[in-house]
């Protein structure tokens, strides 16, 4: 086994693709450097982190431009660079990275949003004494995520994936002195681990099947037709092909990272981390990673699916996504912690993305991912700025009337909220969600997801309205007096707000630029895009739904300022439902009652076995031996000792005799030495002459 790291660029790879690795490398190296800094070098640390990420952003833009120009000139760009990592015999494990529209778009998004969040956190963490450590972790986080994005090999992707998990653990538990934070960090780590186990299984299986982990390797990659055909051919039981099974396993990993239904519990608790971290996790990096993974392996996902139809994997993805969307939205309705509400909304939006992937393919899901990244980052940072302004107050009931107190925050937050709830025509959220709904509507196998998603949209509009009216309208119910946040925090908000609106342009049915960019079909702008059958009605419906949601929310919560201790409107209306929702549908309790209880029970059983069964045996054996020992003792005392003691006395006497030789006198020893020499010499001579 020879481990050579020979670097084999392929002919097509352009210079920008060659140096693509610099994008994640920069922040990673910088985090290493920052780790070496002393705690006091705050400015230096933040400068290094931000600078490195800005550098990555420039590179990402360059890469994007490269891809864009290639796309403009009509041929799809997909350049890969391969590094042979391990070579065993003739089977190699390759790492590598790929530059194609998907990764290019993702790179730009991550670096840009990440950069804004970095700048923002300079202001937000200004008073924390572990500032440097924070930036160390932060840039490592960003670097890992960028690694996930550019990875062309499932293995490299998995490495960075785990790195993301680790850094998320570190960052969520950043305020480790808070027990809740530590617990949340542990929870996040373990929960995602569950998904990752399946993911790893999928990877191994894939390697066993195809012998490579590269996605694209001019025809030899695992995401390319040749391999896929082989995978489809291989059966895996339960009527699944190997492709389907592996796809599901990988999806489990993705579900873990991006908080899909069974494994979403860690995401809301992750709010314990500092707000910029929440923003980063929820908007740009971590949860996006799951969706991105699915998008990345989409060829595998849809392998064997009939044109426009679906296969097992996609169906599962769709249903999980849809149900997550509704489920989380329901919970979000009844939360009072400003960040928790956003967290659940993130979960539900991730459900939308997954559903979009399952229903409409990469373009739909990714488009929502991008737009969501922007406005969710916006919302989180807005929330952060609110919390910052209200002196670390997080309960929405203790706020209110902030719209005069912090106008900038309010304006940007409102934009983000409207975008999230899909306010028609002007906001990116509307178009991306609309695309998902459309594809759900046109889905061949059942309308279930469609209705669920529509309901989800309603709820989204509702709880966002609730939150905003709680926070920004009514009378100020907090203590102390709130203040606007510093410029370093508001400027990023403004930027994000701009993009939250502008990005919509890229995805209108009239000019589906984004879709065509990802799916390599050049797109022209024609109004005819709207003439698709049912499209207008669809848009109308979603608009209607959104307005209903908004109106309902305003009706119930608008402009009234309840006492903090006063019960919520819904609570008064329908207490049981409220309590169920307020307690997050008892999922944590459910897990506590089932999984954890099961383990506890097992532990108790094992304990009992230990005590009773094994312990009993041991006790029996011990008793036997002790009995035997007693017998021995009896014999000893009575007739061994006599003789033995005699022997001991003899021995000690002899010892004394010998000890006399060691008189502690140098010359005695010297004498013995000399004697020995004499004898030795005599013997030698005698033997030599004889």
């Amino acid at each position: 086994m020879q481990e050579a790291l020979q670097f084999t660029p392929q002919v097509a790879a352009s210079s920008i693709a060659q140096i693509l690795w610099l994008i994640p490398a920069g922040p990673m190296v910088m985090s290493g450097v920052i780790a070496l800094l002393r705690q006091r070098r705050r400015t230096l640390a933040s400068t290094l982190a931000i600078g490195s990420l800005a550098f990555s952003l420039l590179l990402a833009l360059a890469a994007f431009g490269h891809v864009l120009s290639g796309w403009m000139s009509g041929h799809a760009v997909r350049e890969t660079v391969k590094i042979t990592w391990i070579q065993v015999g003739n089977s190699t494990v390759d790492l590598g990275w790929v530059l194609d529209p998907l990764s290019a778009v993702m790179l730009v998004m991550v670096t840009f949003v990440g950069l804004l969040i970095f700048i923002y956190s300079v202001g937000y963490m200004a008073h924390d004494e572990n500032f440097t450590r924070f930036f160390c972790f932060l840039s490592l986080f960003a670097g890992a995520m960028l690694g996930v994005v550019i990875a062309n090999s499932l293995l490299l992707l998995f490495m960075c994936w785990e790195l993301v998990g680790l850094t998320s653990y570190l960052l969520i538990g950043f305020w480790y002195q808070k027990p809740s934070a530590a617990a949340a960090a542990k929870k996040a780590f373990l929960t995602t681990r569950i998904g990752d186990v399946f993911f790893l299984l999928g990877i191994v299986w894939l390697f066993a099947q195809t012998g490579t982990l590269l996605f694209y390797n001019n025809g030899a990659g695992s995401m390319e037709p040749a391999a896929l055909v082989g995978l489809l051919a291989a059966p895996a039981g339960w009527g699944l092909s190997a492709a389907g099974a592996i796809a599901l396993l990988i999806f489990a990993g993705a579900a873990g990272k991006s908080g899909q239904l069974p494994l979403h519990v860690w995401l809301p608790d992750a709010m314990e981390g500092p707000t910029p971290v929440s923003a980063l996790i929820h908007a740009a990096t971590m949860v996006a990673a799951g969706v991105y993974l699915v998008a990345r392996v989409f060829p595998l996902m849809q392998a064997g699916a009939p044109m426009g139809g679906s296969n097992t994997a996609l169906t599962v993805v769709t249903w999980v996504g849809a149900s997550t969307a509704v489920f989380a939205a329901l919970i979000a309705v009844a939360q009072n912690d400003i960040k928790r509400i956003l967290a659940y909304s993130t979960v539900s939006q991730l459900g939308y993305m997954m559903a979009g992937l399952g229903l409409g393919g990469v373009a739909v899901g990714m488009f929502h991912l991008i737009t969501h990244a922007f406005f969710k980052a916006l919302l989180f940072m807005g929330a952060g700025s609110v919390i910052h302004g209200c002196h670390e107050e997080q309960d929405v009931r203790n706020m209110g009337g902030l719209w005069k107190k912090m106008p900038a925050t309010f304006a940007t937050y409102a934009i983000g909220m409207l975008a999230l709830s899909g306010f028609p025509l002007f906001f990116s959220g509307f178009w991306s969600k609309d695309a998902i709904l459309e594809s759900a509507h046109n889905w061949h196998s059942g309308k279930g997801p469609y209705f669920m998603l529509v309901f989800g949209a309603l709820l989204t509009a509702f709880y966002m309205t609730r939150q905003v009216s709680y926070v920004f309208f009514g009378k100020w119910r907090g203590h102390g007096h709130a203040h606007e946040s510093p410029r370093v925090m508001t400027v990023p908000l403004a930027l994000l707000a701009f993009f939250a609106i502008a990005l919509g342009v890229l995805g209108t049915p009239a000019w589906p630029w984004f879709r065509s960019f990802l799916t390599d079909k050049p797109a022209a702008f024609e109004w005819a895009g709207f003439n698709e059958p049912g499209l207008i009605q669809l848009m109308a419906t979603s608009t209607l739904v959104v307005f209903v949601g908004l109106g309902l929310g305003w009706l119930l919560y608008g402009n009234r300022s309840p006492k903090p201790e006063e019960a919520d409107v819904l609570e008064k209306a329908v207490p049981p439902i409220w309590s169920v929702l307020h307690n997050r549908l008892y999922v944590d309790e459910l897990y506590g009652g089932t999984v954890i209880a099961f383990y506890a029970w097992w532990a108790r059983v094992a304990d009992w076995l230990d005590r009773r069964v094994w312990g009993g045996m041991v006790a029996a054996v011990t008793g036997l031996f002790s009995l035997w020992a007693k017998l021995n003792r009896f014999l000893d005392t009575n007739w061994v000792d006599g003789t033995f003691d005699k022997g001991c006395e003899e021995l000690s006497a002899g010892g004394g005799l010998v000890a006399r030789v060691q008189s502690g006198r140098v010359q005695t020893y010297l004498r013995l030495l000399a004697l020995a020499v004499v004898v030795l010499a005599a013997i030698l001579i005698w033997s030599s002459r004889g």
Partner: protein, 103 residues
């Protein structure tokens, strides 16, 4: 009697004299001196063998002697230092009174 034998006999004599001194004197310093004498006798042997040996041009014996002289110097320095420090503790250099290491 060949010359070499003469040198060897002298060396042997000096060696045993040194040994006798080391074994019989009570003063630690004189014991050290005796040891030095023994070392010198050994050096004489080396030189004599080098001189009368088959390959004098190989310098081996002489080199050995030179190195052993250097080592002897070090030994003397350390040994005398030890004697002095012992004297500081026990206020004597009489070996008969120095039997702290008695077993």
């Amino acid at each position: 009697m060949t010359p070499l034998a003469g040198y060897l006999l002298v060396a042997a004599l000096v060696f045993s004299i040194g040994l006798a001194g080391a074994l019989t004197r009570r003063n630690a310093i004189l014991v050290l001196i005796g040891i030095e004498l023994m070392l010198n006798a050994a050096n004489l042997n080396l030189i004599a063998f080098w001189r009368y040996g088959p390959h004098p041009e190989a310098l081996t014996g002489m080199m050995f002697a030179v190195f052993s002289i250097a080592v002897a110097a070090a030994e003397a320095a350390v040994g005398l230092g030890l004697v002095i420090s012992i004297y500081r503790h026990a206020h004597t250099t009489d070996l008969d009174e120095m039997n702290r290491m008695k077993g």
